[in-house]
Assembly symmetry: C2
DNA sequence: TAGATTGTTAATCGATTAACAATC
DNA sequence: TAGATTGTTAATCGATTAACAATC
């Protein structure tokens, strides 16, 4: 009898919980409660308790949750108690900004390589990285054992890039190209398209 | 008797539908079906029909949906049948990449101004924009009637910036700072944090 | 007409909330 | 002990899917 899988919507909230308690820790806080976390995140306290209880008993009645302990537990659950190498494909403005981004530090990720197919860009420097040619991408990613990639190419190239990445062994793709990618079931994909996020909000504006 | 409001989760799918049919239109396609759209987006055909039918009868039995007509309808529903001015706060790598981003074109948005509080950056150029001082932000945004902003400041500054934006009349915020913002009910907020998106996927990686 | 596909209803499935005993 | 807060159950709420009459 297999254990019931955790709903993806619950998995999706864990990174928010983690970010919030890490922020509390940075401010020297020691314990928190489902109520406090809920207020910070706009989520009900009951939901937070239920989500966390799917993975274990992390709190104490009457007291709440020990922040450092909760951080360790969530990092472990999300597999970010290690640093993952991440490849960036596309050395334009967005790819370069991601290569320089300081926000991956302590969150479980490290940019490992950046690729582009433009001969003008290949060999140039972005932050501490030398831009590599996309023609070598499958080989390099496979050799380095990279499992995570971010696509920042123009939309028309994105699907082919995704196919190459998957062939190379990548199993999680964060797609900044404004196009819906098709990936097999054993590959995770998330999309970031600022226009889509904005359009979701303009519905509510007059 | 008030009409039932559209669930936000339905609103959230409309921009995806729009992007997909706009892509089809760019390829010269004339009609599509809920089935085809569903396959492209990984959403069931029944769901797409149900979502669209909340707003009107946009299709024809036996035929499907006229692409140009569907585009017009969704653009109208989402209020992107006009161009919204958008302010950017934070002229770092991410803010600059957004200022230069070509992907807002034809999606309903136009960057109108970029602000920073760093004297080194104020007055400098980013794309065709001159970076303005944050101290003038409330005044400038109010004067220009800007209703939408993107925050790309460091996390510690983001909440205060959000408060200022709201005071200035902004009602939709796309937040790139890695911190959970609290905004009143009459303000929409969306968060983009690449680490959070990545962490949501590493759960599934070994 | 025959085939295809919509819009919609009812059934199913899943997620959220309320409530409270347990217990720190 | 008294007060606070968890973990969990049952109830509620909401979203998705299946199915099909309507109709192009």
């Amino acid at each position: 009898m297999a254990k019931k899988p955790i709903p993806d919507i619950v998995v999706g909230r864990l990174p928010q919980y983690l970010r919030s308690v890490q922020r509390m820790a940075a401010q020297g806080r020691v314990v928190t409660s489902s109520q406090e976390l809920g207020e910070r995140l706009g989520i009900s306290a009951a939901q937070i308790r239920k989500d966390l209880s799917q993975f274990g008993e992390f709190g104490k009645q009457g007291t709440g949750y020990q922040i450092t302990f909760l951080i360790d537990q969530i990092r472990h659950i999300l597999h970010v108690d290690k640093e993952w190498d991440v490849a960036i494909v596309g050395a334009g403005d967005v790819g370069s900004a991601l290569a320089r981004y300081k926000g991956f530090h302590n969150r479980g990720f490290r940019v490992a390589a950046i690729f582009d197919n433009d001969p003008e860009k290949v060999g140039s420097r972005v932050d501490s990285f030398t831009v590599l040619d996309t023609s070598r991408m499958v080989e390099e990613i496979r050799k380095a054992g990279i499992r995570i990639a971010m696509i920042t190419t123009p939309a028309p190239a994105a699907q082919e890039v995704a196919n190459m990445l998957i062939e190379a062994g990548v199993r999680a793709i964060l797609n900044y190209a404004p196009i819906s990618l098709n990936v097999p079931n054993n590959v995770r994909m998330q999309q970031i398209d600022p226009s889509i996020h904005l359009q979701r909000m303009t519905y509510y504006l007059d």
